[in-house]
Structures are given as structure tokens and as C-alpha cells.
Amino acid sequence: MKKQFVFLLAIFMAYLNNAQNIEVCNTCPIHTLKTAIEKAKDFDTITVKKGTYKEHDIVINKPLTIIGENYPIIDGELKGEIITITSGNVTVDGLFIMNVGTSYTEDYAAIRVRKSKYFEIKNLVLEKLFFGIYIEKSNYGKIFHNKVIGDAVEEYNSGNGIQLWYSNHIEVEHNHVQNVRDGIYLEFADNCSIKNNVSTNNLRYGLHFMFSNDDIYQDNTFENNGAGVAVMFSKKIKMYNNIFRKNWGTASYGMLLKEINDAEIIGNVFNENTIGINIEGSNRIVYKNNDFENNGWAIKVRGACYTNTFTENNFLYNSFDIAYNSKVNDNVFDKNFWSNYTGYDLNKDGIGDVPYRPVKLFSYIVNRTPETIILLRSLFIDIIDFSEKVSPVFTPDNLLDNNPLTKRIIW
């Protein structure tokens, strides 16, 4: 309520001030963005016409709206940061920003928001960048419909696509981020929402959460990122209806959960990842209605995970459904559909009459001696898996789904 009030007040003030429109073009009297900002009064609108503007270190220090027409190019010529917003109520819309300088000491960004509120960054195209959109200690902003296309090759000299640092209440929606280090990075960012973004081909993580609580991310697609998505040291994160695909590699996960508590993971699709979800030290998480399809390991539990519940998920054609590295189990698996289930349903109630054991002995062996993976699907392995199933010795004997469904769940 307060937020809206302040916003309305801002608009009202803009009218009071009799806001002007300033045009910038290559042949106009004002032909650089910098001079336009200098000349502008608070709440003016600057229209940037199509053309190329070789500028960097543009500081927007008053509440302005900057709109690009037909994507004017702001070329930083690799000299450093290009746009820095230090004032509240700034909107930047429709620019093509390229050639951000690379530095080992400073995180140059295509566009940075520092200690501001109520900013809007939308419809930008960022290319040849170090950091893309960097939000620093700023709140209540919107980052919509941007396209961040990096060309990162090595992790040490590349930056993140969209980074939120000590920033709360930020909405990141409908952005497309690719080929940077981390697609979207949140550190100490609470109450943010990340929706409908596509983050692909990034060197490290498609999405990276650190020490950020009460955030929600939904309907995003994360594909072919070096290490997938990492959610670490955070509480009460809601993850809904995202797609995690084709994250292949040794340390690659659809999603990596580390020290996560009280999260909800609902309706996501994990498809063709080396590990669908890797869980470490995470408690009280609800996994529901997720599809795990064609992953190497659908879920790998690496210890210290308690009272998590996995209900009504589909586990489809994964090489391994669940891997555990301890004999202790405090998590609940119930009413999931397992494509590897071989039991029967005599009373036709849709629930298999024999419980399903999702952890195979072979997953233990592979955990111990990774090279043995080459024996996957061997008849010999099937035989030892079967004997383990009949009398569990190495796997937690209470780890079972007592009500395995016989048909794939559709929701």
C-alpha cells in the first residue's frame, strides 16, 4: 500500500513539475545521452532515436524515463560500466547496450542500479557484456522482457546475466539470459519473484540463490547450463512449474539444494539431467507433482536431509530413481508413480499391492566406484539388485513407497 502510494505520489509530482520530453539522436542538438541527462529535470522523459551512441559511465542520478526507439545502440567500447542508476523512480526501456569493459577488480555491468527504489528495467538487449543487469542494495524494482546474450568462455573472467545483491522485492519476469556465468544470481535478496524467464547455455548456473529467503520462482526454463540451478542457504523458497533440462556433466544438476529449509517444490519438470535434484542438508521440503524424466539420477540424497516428503511425483525412465549414501532415512515417499515399478494391482484401485523400493544396490556401488556405471542394465546387476530388493542389506529398509501408483499421474 505504501509502495503504491509513493508511486502515485511520484507520478503526481511529475505532472506538477510539468515533465518534458528530451530527444536524443545522432544529428540532434543533444546527441549524447549524458548531456540529455545533464539537461533533464526530474521526471522528464528522454527519447533516444535509432543510432549508435559511443558512451560509457552514464550516471542517471535523477528520476527519469529513458526510452529507446527502434533499439538505439549504446556502445561502451569495452571501457567500463555503461549505465549506472543512482536515483529512485528511473525507467530504462528499449536500449541495445553492448561492449561492457571487463575487469578483474571491478564488476562492470551493462546497467547497474545502486541504492535505489522503484526502478524499471525493460525491453533491453544486452550483448558483449561482463555483468548484465546488476541490482545493488535496491528495492521494489522490475526487470521485464530483457534479453541478455553473453559470450562467456571461462568462469573467472565472466560475469552474471542478472544479479540481485542485498535487494528485496524485485520482480524478474520474461527475461532471456544465455551464455553468461550465472544466468540469474540472487544473494541476500528476499521476497523476490522470478517468473517466466529462460536461462540457457550458461557457464555455471542458470539460476543461483544464496542467502535469500521467501522468494518464489516459477514457470522458468533452465536448459543446458554448466551446473544447472543452485539453491543454497536459503529458507522458504517456492519453486513452481519450472523446467530443468539437459544439464549434463560431472557436477551438473537440474537443481542443487544445499541447506534449504521449508521450501516447496511443486509441478516442476526435470528432464535429461545427470542428476535431477541433488539434496544436501535440506529439511522439511515438500516435493509434489514433479516429473522426473530420463535423468541419470532423479534424486540424489547426500545426507542430513530430514522430514522431506515426496508425494505424487512421476519418476519416468531414470537410470536411477533415488540414490542415498546412508542407511538412515527420515523422508517420506508416498503415492508416486515409478516407471520401474514391476508390482501388480489386483484390486484395481490404481495403487500397486507391493511397495516399491526406489533405491537400488547398484546406485551404492556406483557411488563407491563410479566406473562401474558402465555395467548399468547388465543382467548381473539386475540379479544383485533383485536380491537386495528381496532382503535389503545396504539400502535403508524403511525407504519405500508403500502406495506406488500404477498409472502416471496427470495433474
Partner: protein, 260 residues
């Protein structure tokens, strides 16, 4: 040789066993499709069945055919024909007719189910190719066994042992040795171990298709090169071809020195 091949093939095409084999695959394909209601899943189940069953049938059938057609072979030997062409002709006759039963038996139900409209078609083709390779390899091995053993019972015994060894025991020993030497770098050893057993080799081909996500979870550089690129596929196929050629050469060599 082509004439012998033709007659062996016709002979087999008319034999009861070819139909039993064909019917078995027809049934298997239909039942799997009926139970799974899903092409992709049926293909996966089938792969597990194929890499174990095809070698068994190939060996047993090969040995059986050899012993059963012994007199016919003698009849042929008295004709102005080269020995190598007699045995190669018979071998190819058996291998081709078995492969045909496999391809038709599985192909028909899957095509009727709508294979051509499905994305599983490549997996399925790979399955059939692998199955055909396994048939050729194990029929050749069976002929080798039969050529070296006059005694029928012994021949069958060795054939079963060979299958048992390559399908199960080999993997057991393989697994044990990998676990025993786990402190050493093993990726070369494990790949070489796979190459030396045609069943494992075929399994690898199938893994490349089905479990690539899991395979790429392992760190070894050679592993990565093998499974991450087409390298693995190519090497596996080359090895399968070698696995067909070597026993076939031995058939030729052995048959030249054998008394009838």
C-alpha cells in the same frame, strides 16, 4: 557360397524353429506394447531382453543347426565346392534367417503400433541393428564351438557356458575387479573390459542412447570422450564388426583342417 547360403536360408525359412522364433518375437513385441501402452517404454524393456536373449538363441540355434545338418554338410563336401564356402554359406544362412525373424517379429507389432510416427524410431532401429549384430556374433561363436566339438552334448554344454559366461559371469568378474582396484584410475580398464565382451558392447550402445545423462556424471576424461561424443558410437560399432569378423575367420580356418 551364395548357392549354399540360399539353400541353407530356404531350409531354415521352412523349418519349424524359424517360425517358433518369429512367433516368439511377435508375441514379445505385442505383449510389451500391450502391457506398457507406450512405445518408448516398450523399447527400453525390449533392449534389456534383447541383449540377453538374442545371444542365447543365436548360440543354441547355431550349434543345433550345425549338428543337425551334419550329413547334409557331408553331402555338400563331396560336391565340387570349397569348404569355406560351404561353412560360410551355412553360417550366413543361419545368421540371416535368425536376424530376419528378429527384425520381422519385432518390427511388425511396432510398426502396427505406430512406430513411424514416434520419436522412438531411432532407438528402435539401434535395437534391431544391435540385435542383428549379436545374432551374427553368437551364431559365429556357436559354429566355432560346434566345429571344435564332435560330441553334440559337449557342444551344447559349451554353448550354454559361453552364453552364461558372457551374459552374467563376465559382468560379475568385471564388477569385482573394478571394486577391488577402485584406488587406481579405472576408466580405461572399464572401457576395455566392455569392448572384450560383445554383450557388454551392445549394452554400451544402448546405454549411449538411454542413459547418457547418467554416464556423463562420471569424471574420467576418456569416459567423457567416449560417451560425450560420437567416438563411443563409432568405436562400439567397429568393435562389433571385429567381433563378427574374428569368429568368422576362425570358422574358415577351422573348417579347412577338419575331418568329416
Amino acid at each position: 557360397m551364395l548357392k549354399i547360403l540360399k539353400y541353407s536360408f530356404y531350409d531354415l525359412m521352412r523349418s519349424r524353429w524359424s517360425y517358433v522364433y518369429l512367433a516368439f518375437y511377435l508375441l514379445l513385441g505385442t505383449v510389451l506394447l500391450f502391457l506398457n501402452n507406450d512405445l518408448s517404454k516398450a523399447v527400453i524393456t525390449l533392449m534389456n531382453v534383447i541383449i540377453v536373449l538374442v545371444p542365447l538363441i543365436g548360440t543354441i540355434f547355431g550349434v543345433m543347426y550345425y549338428y543337425n545338418s551334419k550329413e547334409f554338410t557331408e553331402l555338400l563336401l563331396a560336391q565340387p565346392l570349397k569348404r569355406s564356402s560351404i561353412f560360410l554359406g551355412q553360417y550366413l544362412g543361419v545368421a540371416i534367417s535368425l536376424s530376419m525373424s528378429l527384425i520381422l517379429g519385432l518390427g511388425i507389432p511396432f510398426i502396427l503400433y505406430g512406430l513411424f510416427k514416434s520419436s522412438a524410431i531411432w532407438d528402435f532401429s539401434l535395437l534391431l541393428i544391435t540385435g542383428a549384430f549379436l545374432t551374427f556374433i553368437f551364431t559365429a561363436l556357436a559354429f566355432n564351438i560346434a566345429l571344435s566339438n564332435e560330441n553334440k552334448i559337449k557342444g551344447f554344454g559349451y554353448a550354454i557356458l559361453l552364453w552364461l559366461f558372457l551374459a552374467i559371469i563376465y559382468d560379475g568378474i568385471f564388477l569385482m575387479s573394478l571394486i577391488m582396484f577402485e584406488d587406481y584410475p579405472l576408466d580405461k580398464l572399464s572401457l576395455v573390459g566392455t569392448m572384450l565382451n560383445p554383450i557388454d558392447l551392445s549394452r554400451t550402445l544402448i546405454l549411449l542412447k538411454l542413459d547418457i545423462s547418467a554416464l556423463l556424471g562420471y569424471t574420467g576424461a576418456i569416459f567423457k570422450k567416449f560417451f560425450g561424443t560420437n567416438f563411443g558410437l563409432i568405436i562400439s560399432f567397429i568393435m562389433l564388426i571385429i567381433w563378427v569378423i574374428l569368429p568368422t575367420l576362425r570358422i574358415v580356418k577351422k573348417s579347412r583342417k577338419k575331418d568329416f
